[in-house]
């Protein structure tokens, strides 16, 4: 029955989708500029932003192709066009001319020779200048990119009290450079791959060659290359291909907007991934305890950092369990609440026409709507949403007798707690709803079963051989000094953590 339903659904998918084809034909560069232009035009026309130019110097014919708006015109003119076109060539042989132009005349360092036309077109579409010469079966690509980009600014979702204010931007090379400037060592390796049949998005795999697990690096590159995607508009497109087979709301791949955080992760032997056009980077393997870390922990006194970590763990537990537990306790286990408190809660809840589970669900749905609206709507009207949200959820709902005041306190506490660890917001939000329903139907008993199932599910995640629950289970006491508590730099500095050893 299940197999039949699965096949039926797959047929429905096939009816409406077309499989992504990664195969691309290989076309050699032609010997004449006009033939090359013809092929490029057949591929790119009628795009208005593709500019073609041919220049003849004596018997030598040059052909240039560029994408308007993607190149730095000043750089292109001064470093390539003027020197190449003003040079006196002593031979009219296309092969010799193109090599002379590339090696001896142009002032550009960023250049490469290409023999395959489709790859050359792809590079040109990334902002390179493509040059052909009649009689040569090769093309030269000059890196003169100059497309509009956002300045480097402080990340929105990972703000820190101390430390660098730099965050990743959408510029691929700037992002790599931000990491490079923090690790001035030859051991930092940056390998570029391409993802997306249509988008051909550049993806950079970063790692420190002396500590990253070779097998992990190889596997990461393989998984990225095997990712069947038509377009890739962000790191989130690649993330599922890097996660394991276990279906879970937790992820074994970390995300950061901060180059300093990525640098720290690379120093632990992790592998970083920067995707073109995305102001964040992925890193892996990522374990559960890392959710409770921030760069501030390492810039402040250890005792404070440790207490903040414990506070974050408490906040996560509150954000996931508190509403469900409140519903379960009020519905099934009233004896747990001290007598003085139970009377107050009963009194307040008695005015509410809805059962506690429905009340909790309704309030959390309203909260999620307000949060989503605040996130998506223009900032100029954001304040209005906050006021309406506060009034509707708060005062008016209580006065109308739709919600009890204790439920509002629970909602407020849960909402604030869920924002303490932004990386776990999605997880806590989903689990919270599930636990409210289970708490209302099966009480604490059901919540514990659900908790146990989540625990086993979490324990099954093994990003690239490292258990997600490490160093708690499997217990690696040696790693606790950094991953659970935070000891002094005098102790931490001498021995660096090796992620590889968190396995088994």
């Amino acid at each position: 029955m299940v197999i039949y339903l699965k096949n039926w659904y797959e047929k429905k998918i096939d009816e409406i989708t077309v499989p992504v084809d990664n195969a691309e034909e290989k076309v050699s560069i032609k010997l004449t500029v006009s033939e090359n232009f013809k092929y490029i035009k057949s591929k790119l026309d009628p795009s208005f932003d593709v500019k073609y130019r041919t220049s003849e110097i004596g018997k030598i014919k040059f052909g240039f192709v560029m994408l308007d708006g993607m190149c730095n015109n000043e750089l292109l003119t001064e470093q390539i066009m003027i020197p190449v076109l003003r040079y006196n060539y002593d031979s009219s042989d296309g092969e010799k001319v193109i090599l002379t132009a590339a090696d001896r005349i142009s002032g550009s360092i960023d250049k490469s020779i290409q023999y395959e036309l489709n790859t050359a077109i792809r590079e040109m579409l990334s902002g390179n200048l493509l040059m052909f010469v009649d009689g040569s079966a090769r093309a030269v690509l000059f890196g003169v990119q100059g497309f509009p980009k956002r300045n480097i600014s402080e990340p929105d979702s990972e703000t820190q009290e101390r430390g660098s204010k730099e965050g990743f931007s959408e510029s691929f090379k700037d992002n790599v450079a931000l990491v490079r400037k923090r690790i001035r060592s030859p051991i930092l390796k940056t390998e570029v791959l391409e993802v997306g049949t249509t988008s051909k998005t550049r993806v950079c795999v970063l790692y420190l060659s002396d500590r990253a697990n070779e097998k992990t690096v190889k596997e990461v590159k393989q998984k990225i290359q095997n990712a069947t995607l038509d377009i890739c508009l962000g790191s989130g497109y690649i993330q599922p291909f890097l996660e394991g087979k276990v279906r879970s709301c937790f992820s074994g791949v970390g995300v950061t907007e901060r180059p300093d955080v990525l640098t720290a992760k690379l120093s632990e032997g992790k592998v970083g991934i920067i995707t073109d056009g995305t102001p964040d980077a992925l890193f892996l393997p990522y374990i559960f305890t890392e959710h409770f870390h921030s760069l501030d922990d390492y810039l402040k006194k250890p005792y404070y950092a440790t207490s903040i970590r414990l506070l974050k763990i408490a906040a996560f537990l509150i954000s996931v369990f508190l509403p469900g537990l409140y519903v379960a306790i009020c519905t099934f286990h009233q004896e747990v609440i001290p007598e003085t408190m139970i009377f107050d809660i009963c009194l307040q809840e008695s005015f509410v026409p809805l059962p506690i589970m429905a009340e909790a669900l309704m309030m959390h749905v309203v909260f999620e709507i307000v949060r989503e609206a605040g996130l998506r709507m223009p900032r100029s009207v954001g304040n209005a949403v906050s006021i309406v949200g506060a009034l509707v959820i708060g005062d008016a709902a209580v006065n109308a007798g739709l919600v009890a005041a204790p439920m509002l306190i629970i909602l407020g506490l849960t909402a604030v707690s869920s924002f303490v660890i932004p990386s776990l917001y999605d997880v806590s939000s989903v689990l919270r709803f599930i636990l409210i329903i289970i708490g209302g139907l099966a009480g604490f008993y059901g919540i514990m079963i659900a908790f146990a199932a989540v625990l086993v599910n979490m324990s099954a995640i093994e990003p690239f051989g490292v258990p997600f629950t490490s160093p708690l289970s499997p217990t690696k006491l040696g790693a606790w000094r950094d991953l659970i508590i935070r000891t002094d730099w005098k102790k931490l500095g001498a021995n660096r953590l090796n992620t590889d050893r968190l396995d088994k």
């Binding site: 099934f332 099966a442 604490f444 086993v456 099954a460 217990t475």
Partner: protein, 351 residues
């Protein structure tokens, strides 16, 4: 069975599964002896446990490195016997949980839905495999122990030594009988017998530590029962739950919710682990798909538990001490002795 887990992970699972048996102990099985004698019963059980495990460890010591054909008739029969033992104990665990939920947690609600819910989640746990179960057990040990310690502290002021009754008042025979019954309720011996070759580390040392710890924990729980509840505990369906409901600490009251949590967590791990073992044994012996075996086992378990649910007579059928004792004695010492003889004979023939 290719996966290997560490001694600590293995005995963490066994600690929690055995703790569940103690927490869900029903005094009607031990009517013959008074509650104070139950404390000493744990010592006798310790000795019996060591005795029945001797052949298992001898077999492991002498032939542990030798591998036997997985598809032989003996191996298949062994897999079926152990699977049956584990299945019976899975049914007993779910049935006990059902009895608890139906009488204590939701006395006025039909708990059949919850049973299905539990079995489905446990089958999912088993489907995820050994490592997730082992890791979850390690993660659960500390909270479970802390919860128990908290409850013990909350009960300290209620301890009254006058509640203790004279020791061995009914003689030694009921004590020995109860201890033997307790051995029968310990499916963990069968688990060790089947799983020992797949544990990394010093399993023998781990076994002694585990036996000692669980003997102390069980003795401690019976001591609390005897001193706080006295003979009143014999009238309770679940005395440990009653104990917890009497616990008070500062503004915390009625700590039975905590014990329920511990109970449910341990039950989940126990059922998941037993289902995993059954699926693995059957898969290895008969070369069938693990997911199919788990689906069948889950359905079978659900069907039996739904049949048992709500009827004490049927519950007695699936939770009989005598049957459990026979199953443990057949699967642990007898099968091991048989295998020792079989391998010995084989060796002689070869020579």
């Amino acid at each position: 069975m290719n996966s290997k887990i560490s001694v600590f992970q293995f005995y963490s699972i066994l600690f929690l599964t055995r703790l569940l048996t103690t927490l869900t102990y029903i005094p009607s099985y031990t009517k013959e002896i008074n509650v104070s004698d139950m404390i000493f019963q744990t010592l006798f059980r310790f000795v019996f446990g060591i005795i029945i495990m001797l052949p298992v460890f001898y077999l492991q010591e002498k032939y542990g490195k030798e591998t036997s054909a997985q598809n032989g008739i003996y191996e298949k029969t062994k897999a079926v016997i152990f699977s049956f033992v584990f299945f019976y104990f899975s049914v007993a665990t779910v049935a006990r949980l059902d009895l608890f939920a139906g009488t204590v947690v939701f006395p006025e609600t039909d708990v059949k839905f919850f049973l299905l819910f539990v079995v489905a989640f446990c089958a999912y746990g088993a489907f995820l495999g050994l490592m997730p179960i082992a890791r979850s057990a390690v993660l659960s040990v500390l909270p479970v122990v802390l919860s128990l310690v908290f409850i013990v502290f909350a009960l300290v002021k209620k301890i009254d030594f006058l509640n203790l009754s004279p020791l061995f008042y009914n003689g030694i025979e009921p004590l020995l009988k109860t201890s033997l019954n307790a051995v029968g309720r310990t499916v963990e011996y069968a688990v060790i017998a089947v799983f020992l070759p797949f544990v990394q580390g010093n399993a023998k040392k781990g076994f002694f530590i585990w036996m000692t710890v669980q003997t102390f924990v069980t003795a401690g729980i019976f001591f609390l029962e005897a001193t706080v509840l006295g003979n009143f505990s014999q009238m309770q369906l679940f005395p440990v739950f009653t104990l917890a409901s009497m616990a008070e600490f500062s503004f915390f009251q009625g700590l039975e919710t905590i014990i329920t949590g511990v109970w449910v967590l341990c039950a989940f791990l126990k059922i998941s682990f037993l289902l995993y073992l059954q699926a693995k044994l059957i898969t290895d012996a008969f070369k069938v798909k693990k997911t199919h075996v788990l689906a069948v086992l889950g359905l079978l378990l659900s069907a039996i538990c739904l049949f048992v649910s709500g009827s004490v007579e049927r519950f007695n059928l699936v939770d009989t001490s005598a049957i459990k004792l026979i199953l443990v004695l057949v699967s642990v010492p007898l099968l091991s002795v048989f295998e020792i003889i079989k391998r010995g004979v084989k060796k002689c023939v070869k020579q």
